[in-house]
């Protein structure tokens, strides 16, 4: 019998190793798997490479992970924000490595990894500093930049509903990177607001088929990052 549901969030992240490459879903707070990240913080894995659109805000979520010194390198399109205090400080003193990737290229590199495409050419970034050192080839008289697929050992993803086969639905714009990250990681670990019985998700509305999902765990009331940041909360490892 297939049952991808894990009883506790601690058990769901227990075997993530030092040096792992970890994708984090989310665009800003929407779809950010804050609860799974806090479980990873407590679990203690170090020397991580993080792949995410943003580098976190305040002292919660990925910002808490960086602040605890767990992140060696981040691959990201937009690390800075008005509240990205931790990343800014680590970056300024050279304590974190940054690979800056245009957002659409980031998404397509992740999708390509999940789809078994090792590399592709894109017009994005041609003629800019972000294409420096990369192969450029003309198609239809226009320069295109060679970009490589981006895979991960683990993806931490936030979705809305799961069944025991790992079929997922998402909520509104919190979908963002979730579906493609589930495809691109050897193991995807998904926090959902609720689990339902097999057959209870209309097959017509399944967004991520269970084949792309390794583990699911219920987090009925996910952390509200904005509220935590506003209250001055600092998440430390426990």
């Amino acid at each position: 019998m297939i049952d991808k549901q894990i009883a506790t969030i601690e058990a769901a992240v227990a075997d993530i190793r030092d040096g792992a490459t970890v994708m984090l879903s989310g665009f800003g707070e929407a779809g950010h798997p804050t609860d799974l990240i806090h479980a990873l913080l407590d679990q203690g894995a170090r020397e991580l490479t993080i792949i995410a659109n943003n580098a976190g805000n305040g002292y919660v979520g990925v910002a808490a992970l960086i602040n605890a010194g767990r992140v060696r390198r981040i691959v990201c399109s937009f690390p800075k924000s008005s509240q990205s205090v931790v990343f800014n400080e680590f970056y300024a003193r050279g304590a974190i490595e940054l690979e800056l990737v245009p957002q659409g290229t980031l998404a397509e590199r992740i999708r390509a990894a999940g789809a078994g495409v090792p590399a592709f050419y894109t017009p994005t970034s041609a003629g800019t500093p972000l294409a420096d050192g990369k192969e450029v080839r003309d198609f239809g008289g226009r320069p295109h930049v060679l970009e490589h697929a981006l895979r991960a050992d683990v993806a931490l993803v936030k979705a809305e509903t799961a069944d025991r086969w790992g079929n997922l639905t998402y909520r509104k714009a919190a979908r963002n990177f979730g579906p493609i990250m589930c495809m691109a990681a050897d193991l995807s670990i998904v926090q959902v607001r609720r689990h339902v019985g097999l057959g209870d998700i209309d097959p017509e509305i399944v967004v991520t088929p269970g084949i792309f999902v390794g583990r699911t765990v219920t987090v009925a009331e996910p952390a509200d990052e904005q509220a935590l940041i506003a209250s001055g909360y600092r998440r430390e490892p426990t």
């Binding site: 665009f27 957002q103 290229t105 003629g127 714009a173 963002n176 579906p179």
Partner: protein
């Protein structure tokens, strides 16, 4: 304002950001799929004539988003690319990030309106980095939008706060994309990018061509 660029004291009135946005909205046809860049371009949404159906795209996976909700209706899962709360119009849809950028890169977005630090007369755009090495870099979707949308309009002030031209013969800031800008809307003028320079479409009332040229670091052709 008193325009003293040539020392002759002409009187002309600069367009406010809302007036620039309204001017851009006039040029958006019914049925267009449009992405509005973060910041001032977002104002364009408020000025699209009500009889036109324009579908707004947001990079984070929304087609057909609507205005800011009332505080009580804010939903953290329904935000735009600027991470601000929005609403969804009837007919709107959600999709993942790779599909969202397929819409952009695949040429399905009719128009993108972006802000800029500089636009060069060959259509090169600079809007993601000032090139200062001590800044935390961030590119977001700027390069994908600039390279992928069918048309790029730029909305910006004509000069920097210090009076330096932002329309230039060639970029001094790092490029976002090359040869992509079709039209520029500033507080002083509307200009098309054509072979060999900018072509003046219109200038604000009271501004002479001489004064406009004095505030522009590139060739301006007139019809």
């Amino acid at each position: 304002m008193t325009d003293n660029a040539t020392g002759q004291g002409h009187n002309s009135v600069r367009r406010t950001p809302d007036e620039i946005a309204a001017r851009i909205a006039q040029d958006i046809p019914d049925g267009f799929y449009v992405n509005l860049g973060i910041g001032q371009p977002e104002k364009v949404a408020n000025h699209v004539p009500s009889e036109r159906e324009v579908v707004l795209h947001s990079e984070n996976g929304i087609l057909g988003f609507g205005p800011t909700p009332a505080d009580a209706d804010i939903d953290h899962d329904l935000i735009n690319a600027g991470k601000k709360p929005v609403t969804l119009k009837d007919g709107g849809s959600f999709f993942h990030h790779a599909d969202s950028f397929a819409m952009i890169r695949g040429g399905h977005i009719d128009l993108c309106v972006l802000g800029a630090y500089q636009v060069a007369e060959n259509g090169d755009l600079a809007n993601w980095s000032t090139g200062k090495t001590d800044d935390v870099p961030g590119v977001g979707g700027a390069m994908d939008l600039a390279a992928g949308a069918k048309r790029i309009f730029v909305m910006m002030t004509h000069t920097t706060k210090d009076g330096a031209p932002k329309l230039v013969d060639r970029l001094t800031y790092p490029a976002t994309a090359r040869g992509v800008v079709k039209r520029v809307y500033t507080d002083l003028a509307v200009l098309d990018v054509v072979d060999g320079g900018f072509q003046l479409v219109e200038a604000v009332e009271g501004l002479s061509l001489e004064d406009l040229r004095a505030r522009t670091g590139a060739t301006i052709h007139t019809p």
